[in-house]
């Protein structure tokens, strides 16, 4: 019977108070024209000033220990804050990856020196991270990476290239997955290691790749004989694969997997509330049911993370369902244009809708494709 459960976690009054506090802050920012709510804001909308402001509020690095400049709050508190930021389309892209996964990775595997020098800066919104996993010839097949780190007298020499590294041009560091030894016959995941690479080092070359909407967030990052100090190694040499797997649970289970385009849904409803009541209640009801279920699953995973569990499979469930939900949502709104033609929608709503339509194919690619998610689940069901 049931292999993967999502125990129901109730939001406490304390969490609800935090939620309202964040909401009030965001409303003030919007009223002061500090930002305009955007779709997919955790990928596209980088605003280092806003990140710093969140840091000073204590809303970044929330669960990190105080000794490293963190706030020692729970994963559930962090969940509530990130939900509020995403639902309002706040510009969180600059710090998103550092706060979501890289900081935890450094805390878990880093040396004392690494932790002391990096974690306080992440918590104050002054240090941003990019993901260094994919390469031109290694996408879903991550174990095939060719970027290579070789031991030298003083540290490591890094040679290779990483691609699709969102926001790298604004970032201070990238956690690079590189080969430090050969794979074994039995296990191709052997011989991989993670490195904490300062992107301001000589011979690091970051080149933008415009995406299909013309925006820049993608990059190709070239490491042309980059000299790394000894302590650039993150964690244990040769344990890169298991380290990466843990990181992916953080990457895949969060509310950005289903709230990326929430601002669109919210605006749409505000605009057409009365029309929807007459002829579209069921469409909205279905979206509410899907969304609320996803929120519960994701919140439940936050509680598993809090308890020190490793819910990688549950994360794959959330990512897969969340991606599907967002596609269904955009499609449902499109069908409504039978009743009110798209060209009669207010300009801002039209733009949000068209942005969402154009960007939606990427949501089931980034962070692991649908096919990879289904593969992970099938393995856990004993089929592979």
């Amino acid at each position: 019977m049931s292999k993967f459960t999502f125990p129901s976690i109730k939001e406490t009054n304390e969490l609800s108070r935090l939620r309202l506090e964040v909401r009030k802050f965001i409303t003030e920012c919007i009223n002061n024209n500090e930002f305009i709510p955007a779709a997919d804001s955790w990928v596209f909308a980088a605003n280092p000033e806003f990140s710093k402001k969140l840091g000073s509020k204590g809303w970044l690095g929330m669960s990190f220990p105080k000794q490293y400049g963190g706030n020692e709050r729970t994963a559930l508190e962090r969940y509530v804050v990130t939900e509020e930021l995403l639902a309002s389309g706040a510009p969180v892209a600059a710090h998103w990856i550092a706060d979501r996964q890289s900081g935890s990775q450094v805390l878990r595997y880093g040396t004392e020196k690494q932790k002391l020098s990096i974690i306080p800066k992440i918590s104050s919104g002054k240090c941003f991270f990019a993901i260094g996993m994919s390469e031109p010839d290694s996408g879903s097949d991550l174990a095939s990476v060719k970027t290579k780190a070789t031991k030298t007298a003083v540290g490591w020499n890094l040679e290779g290239r990483k691609i699709w590294s969102t926001g790298a041009h604004l970032c201070n560091y990238m956690i690079v997955l590189a080969r430090t030894g050969p794979p074994s016959d039995k296990n191709r995941h052997e011989g991989l290691s993670q490195f904490l690479v300062d992107l301001s080092l000589p011979n690091v070359n970051i080149k933008g790749i415009p995406d299909m909407t013309g925006q820049r967030h993608f990059n190709e990052t070239l490491f042309d004989n980059v000299e790394l100090s000894e302590d650039a190694l993150l964690g244990e040499e040769g344990k890169g694969w298991s380290q990466v797997v843990g990181e992916l649970a953080l990457e895949r289970s969060g509310p950005e997997r289903f709230l990326s385009h929430f601002t669109l849904l919210d605006r749409f409803i505000n605009e057409f509330q009365n029309k929807l009541l007459k002829s579209g209640s069921n469409i909205i009801g279905k979206l509410i049911a899907e969304l609320q279920t996803l929120r519960r699953m994701s919140f439940s995973i936050a509680s598993m993370l809090q308890n020190g569990e490793s819910p990688e499979t549950q994360a794959a469930f959330v990512k897969e369902l969340g991606n599907k939900f967002e596609k269904t949502m955009v499609e449902s709104l499109r069908e409504f244009s039978n009743i009110i033609p798209l060209y009669e929608w207010p300009d801002q709503l039209q733009n949000l809708f068209e942005d969402a339509t154009l960007r939606i194919p990427s949501n089931s690619l980034r962070g692991g494709t649908t096919e990879i998610m289904k593969g992970i689940i099938a393995r856990q069901l004993g089929l592979r």
Partner: protein, 343 residues
């Protein structure tokens, strides 16, 4: 999970394991000795009155306990009105009527219901399991008050329904049937909501079974020199079943701590929608990966998918609850969507 609940589930699984097999489900049109033995064990262990008040010989355990038990009984595919009895006995007990022994089933609303001299006449529609029991509760409105009526014995004409060839159901014309007791239904209940909750828990148990059967079958069946489970097309289909099931289970665990109609109505709506969507997909995929064998009577998959077809239409289908939920939000002008979701 509490230790107490774990012990009860352990007891229940022993009973189901001992008695329930696919043969038992073939003789569903009348009570045979095996069905009677199963029921006697259920009753002896107090499972049918698990949330009934102690003064009526029940265990008076928390309401939330019945959901995993109901789920389990349907994972095993128990061909008895087990869930119906648990719910009926509970509502009787909470409305201060002593629940009878034996299996109990329920009827809702009815047509042309008339009560004179403590005798009732009218038509009851689609009543489950009248082949196995004559004990019925009727929930119906009389002079603007919801009443719960325990009928003494059926005197009337039974008309079998098709019901997707799932559990037996009957339309029943009753005439001057004796009433054992009639009371106003405790106002904290809405039978439609509790029914939707119960059917959803049943569906989730059945979907778990359909998933497990599919995994087992595909891990054994070989074609083109390898087991079906090694084909990526099959793996992805089965993963999709697991994803749908996990969403439904998450929706179920969000409900169930309260039986009060108004407190958890949104959660029940979400659950029935989510389970109904999942059932549609799981019926289709489980049959697809089984091939022709799943389409036979001798193999057990179809028992579960026929029940899913029936239950996803009971107590409001997806569209009913989607419309309900959509209106519930849209008619309320004080909250935007995010406030509604996070309230």
């Amino acid at each position: 999970m509490s230790e107490e609940l774990a012990i009860i589930l352990e007891t229940a699984s022993k009973i189901f394991n001992k008695h329930v097999n696919h043969d038992l489900r073939q003789f569903i049109d009348k009570a045979n000795i095996n069905l009677i033995n199963l029921w006697n064990d259920i009753e002896e262990q107090g499972l049918s009155k698990i949330i009934v008040k102690e003064k009526f010989n029940g265990s008076e355990l928390p309401f939330s306990f019945i959901l995993p038990i109901i789920k389990m009984s349907n994972y095993y595919g128990t061909p008895l009105p087990f869930s119906e009895t648990i719910l009926s006995n509970y509502l009787l007990s909470e409305s201060d009527i002593k629940p009878p022994n034996g299996m109990v089933t329920f009827a809702v609303d009815g047509i042309d219901i008339k009560i004179t001299n403590n005798k009732i006449s009218g038509k009851l529609l689609s009543v489950p399991f009248l082949n196995l029991t004559e004990k019925i509760i009727l929930i119906t409105e009389i002079e603007n008050v919801k009443n719960i009526i325990l009928l003494k014995s059926i005197k009337g004409e039974l008309k079998p329904k098709k019901n997707f060839l799932a559990e037996p159901r009957f339309d029943l014309q009753i005439k001057n049937c004796e009433i054992i007791d009639i009371k106003p239904l405790n106002s904290k209940f809405n039978f439609n909501h509790l029914g939707a909750l119960m059917r959803s828990a049943q569906m989730i148990g059945s979907m778990e079974k359909a998933l497990d059967l599919s995994i087992d079958y595909c891990s054994q069946r070989k074609q083109f020199g390898r087991t079906l489970s090694k084909f990526q097309a099959i793996q992805h289909q089965i993963s999709e079943m697991a994803v749908e099931l996990s969403a439904s289970s998450a929706a179920l665990s969000a409900v169930g701590n309260t039986d009060e109609a108004n407190k958890n109505i949104q959660d029940i709506a979400i659950l029935k929608i989510r389970a109904g969507i999942a059932a549609g997909k799981i019926i289709a995929i489980s049959h697809q990966v089984h091939g022709a064998i799943g389409f036979t009577q001798e193999y057990e998959l179809a028992y579960f998918t026929r029940n899913l077809n029936s239950w996803r239409n009971d107590f409001g289908n997806e569209n009913f609850w989607e419309t309900f939920l959509g209106k519930n939000f849209l008619e309320n002008n004080n909250q935007n969507l995010w406030e509604y979701l996070t309230y």
